[in-house]
Amino acid sequence: MAVVEREKLLEVKNLKKHFNVGKNAVLKAVDNVSFDIYKGETLGLVGESGCGKSTTGRTIIRLYEATGGNVAFEGEDVHGKKSRKELKSFNRRMQMIFQDPYASLNPRMTIKDIIAEGIDIHGLAKNDKERMERIYELLETVGLNRAHASRYPHEFSGGQRQRIGIARALAVDPEFIIADEPISALDVSIQAQVVNLLMKLQKERGLTYLFIAHDLSMVKHISDRVGVMYLGNIVELAASDELYEEPLHPYTQALLSAIPVPDPEVERSRERIILEGDLPSPISPPSGCRFRTRCPHAMDVCASKDPKWMEAREGHWVACHLYDNELNTENKQQ
C-alpha cells in the first residue's frame, strides 16, 4: 500500500475503560489502547471473547463513559462534558451496527420507524413525504424493498434484520460506522451477502469502518489494517496482508495458526501452535506482558516490564519484548 499522507478521522489515545466489579475489584476491560483510523479505511479489530474489542468500540461511541484517555474525531475531542447540541452533531457522524440482529431491533416498532428514528431526531426530513422517500431509498440501498417498510422485525430473517440495522445506521449519513461483530450471528452464505453490502456501501459513500470480529478470515477480507487485542491491550497492528503473512507477536502467530482452513490437505500438513491454558482473569491480569502466561517465548523480562508499543517495521506496530531492540542489545551486553 502506498504511503500517502492520509487524513486521520479518528484518533484514540490511551483509551481506558475500567468496570468496578464488587469490593475493590476493578476489571480493566480496555487498558491504554491507542490507534488511529484514517478516512475511508476499514480498521479490523480481532481477539477472543473477553479481550475488550467490543468495549473499545462501545467506549469510542460513548455507549460507555471512558475511564481515561481521549478520542478525537477529526481533531475534536468527543469525550468529556458536552452540550446536548454538540453530542447530537457528533452522534450524527458516528453510528453503530450491533452483533445480534434479534436483540438490536425493537420488536414493537415497524421497520420504517426503526430506520427513521435518527432522521426524526436530527430533523433530516422536512415533511412526511420526504421522510418516506428517504426510508424507501435506504431500504433499496441495503437490498430490501419498499413493501418491507410497514412490517415488524419478527417477520424478517437474521440476514434481513442485519440489513435493517445497516439501513438504520446509514439513515443519518454518518462518516464513520462501528460494526460490532455484524456477521457472527449469521450463516456462512448470508455472512458473505452482508460483507459484500458493507464493502459496496463503503465504496459508494466513502465510509470509514471500525470492524470488530473474531472471525479472522472475514476480518482480513474486509479490512485495510487489522489490530489484534489480548486482555484489554492491543498487541499488534499492521496492514492486513502484512499481519497475516508476517505476524510478529506470538499471540497473533498462535491465533492465525489456530484458524481451521477449509482445505483438507492444508489441514493435514499444518503445524499448529497450540496455546496452553485459558485466558487469565482480566480482574487480576498477569504482571508485565499479559500474554506471558501462555506465551511459548516468554522470558524473565516479560514478567517484570510492560512491553513498549513500538513500530517494528514501517506501519507495523507491536507490543512485545522480542522486538525491543534496546532491550535485546542490553541483554547482549550483560
Binding site: D187, S189, Q193, V195, H214, S217, H221, L255, P260, P262
Partner: protein, 339 residues
C-alpha cells in the same frame, strides 16, 4: 468395512400450530466403525434434527419420525422401547452438545456427573467409578484431576467445561459419538485445543464420530467423510477430499466460495443470494432451486435423484443428469490446489 450406524430414508416432522414442518426429508447416511463423518449445513438444514432423531432426543409430543429406519449394529432404533433406548443412550451412543455452559448440571460436581453414567450403565462401585472419572479427566487434559473432580461447573472455563462434557460422553466407551457443534461456542485458540483432543481421542479409543458443524474449516480438520445438508435433505456426500476438491453440487460450490480465503484479496465474495426454503411448505423440486444460479425447469418440478460420481461420492443434482448442460464450478469454489 462394517457399518455401525445406518440411516435409511429417514423423515422427521414437527407438528406446530402453523402446520407440519418437514425438517428432515429422506436422509440416507452410513457410519463405519471408527471413522469420522461430518454433517455440514446452515441453521435449519436439518443436521441437528437428524442427530437428535438417532438419540431419540426430539420432543415426543410434537415430533415424529414419519418414515425410515435407523439401524445401529443392525437393530432398528425407531422400533425399540424407551427402556431399551436408555441402555444405548450414553453408553453405546453418546453426544456432545454445542454449549458447555448449559449442558452441565450447575448443582452437581463434575465428578458426580461423570460417574452418573458409569454407575448406571456399567454397574461400577462408587470407588471404581471415581477412579475411572479421575482417569477420564486426565485423558481429556484437565490438570489436577483428583482435586477438580469435586468442583462445580462454574469453577471451570468454557474450554475446560467442554473437556468435561467430552469426558462424560466417553465415560462408557461408546461406539458412536455424536458431536453437535462442539467448538462453536469456543474461541479459536480453545477450539484448536479441543479439535486436537478429539482427534487424539479418536485414535486412542476408535470411537466413530458424527460431527455436526457449519464450519468447513473444522470439517477439513477432523473428518474423513462429509455429508452436506440443505433444506432437510443431503445434497452431496463423499470423502472430505472429494467434496472439497471436486464438489459437484451448486450449494457446495456456494458454501465453499462464500468463505473468504486467506489469499483471496479484495475480490467480492461469492454470496448465495436469497434465504433457505421454509420447510413448512418445502418446495416439491430441489430445495436449492430457488437460490441456484444454474436452476432449470426440471429442478423446480422434480426432486433430483442421487447420482454416483464415484463409489463414495454422491450428489443429488439435475446437473449431473446426462441430458443436463455441462457446468463448471465457479473459480472461487476451488479450494487450494484443487484440480
Amino acid at each position: 468395512m462394517k457399518n455401525i450406524l445406518e440411516l435409511k430414508n429417514v423423515n422427521v416432522s414437527f407438528h406446530t400450530f402453523a402446520g407440519e414442518v418437514k425438517a428432515v426429508r429422506g436422509v440416507n447416511l452410513h457410519l463405519e466403525k471408527g471413522e469420522s463423518l461430518a454433517i455440514v449445513g446452515e441453521s435449519g438444514s436439518g443436521k441437528s434434527v437428524t442427530s437428535k432423531s438417532i438419540m431419540r432426543l426430539l420432543p415426543e409430543k410434537t415430533s415424529e419420525i414419519k418414515e425410515g429406519e435407523i439401524l445401529f449394529e443392525g437393530r432398528d432404533l425407531t422400533k425399540i422401547s424407551n427402556r431399551e433406548m436408555e441402555k444405548i443412550r450414553g453408553s453405546e451412543i453418546s453426544m456432545i452438545f454445542q454449549d458447555p455452559m448449559t449442558s452441565l448440571n450447575p448443582t452437581m460436581t463434575v465428578g458426580k456427573q461423570i460417574m452418573e453414567g458409569l454407575r448406571k450403565h456399567q454397574n461400577l462401585s462408587k470407588s471404581e467409578a471415581k477412579e475411572r472419572a479421575v482417569n477420564l479427566l486426565k485423558l481429556v487434559g484437565i490438570p489436577n484431576p483428583e482435586l477438580r473432580i469435586s468442583e462445580y461447573p462454574h469453577q471451570f472455563s468454557g474450554g475446560m467445561r467442554q473437556r468435561v462434557v467430552i469426558a462424560i460422553a466417553l465415560a462408557c466407551n461408546p461406539k458412536v459419538l455424536i458431536a453437535d457443534e462442539p467448538t462453536t461456542a469456543l474461541d479459536v485458540t480453545i477450539q484448536a485445543q479441543i479439535l486436537d483432543l478429539m482427534r487424539d481421542l479418536q485414535q486412542k479409543t476408535g470411537t466413530a464420530i458424527i460431527l455436526i458443524t457449519h464450519d468447513l474449516g473444522v470439517v477439513a480438520n477432523l473428518s474423513q467423510r462429509v455429508a452436506v445438508m440443505y433444506g432437510g435433505t443431503i445434497v452431496e456426500t463423499g470423502t472430505t477430499d472429494e467434496v472439497f476438491y471436486n464438489p459437484k453440487h451448486p450449494y457446495t460450490w456456494g458454501l465453499l466460495s462464500s468463505m473468504p480465503k486467506l489469499n483471496s484479496g479484495d475480490k467480492e465474495l461469492m454470496a448465495i443470494p436469497g434465504t433457505p426454503p421454509n420447510l413448512l411448505n418445502p418446495p416439491k423440486g430441489c430445495p436449492f432451486a430457488a437460490r441456484c444460479p444454474y436452476a432449470m425447469q426440471v429442478c423446480v418440478d422434480h426432486m433430483p435423484d442421487v447420482t454416483d460420481v464415484t463409489s463414495t461420492h454422491k450428489s443429488a443434482c439435475w446437473l449431473l443428469d446426462e441430458r443436463a448442460p455441462q457446468v463448471e464450478p465457479p473459480e472461487a469454489a476451488l479450494v487450494g490446489g484443487a484440480r
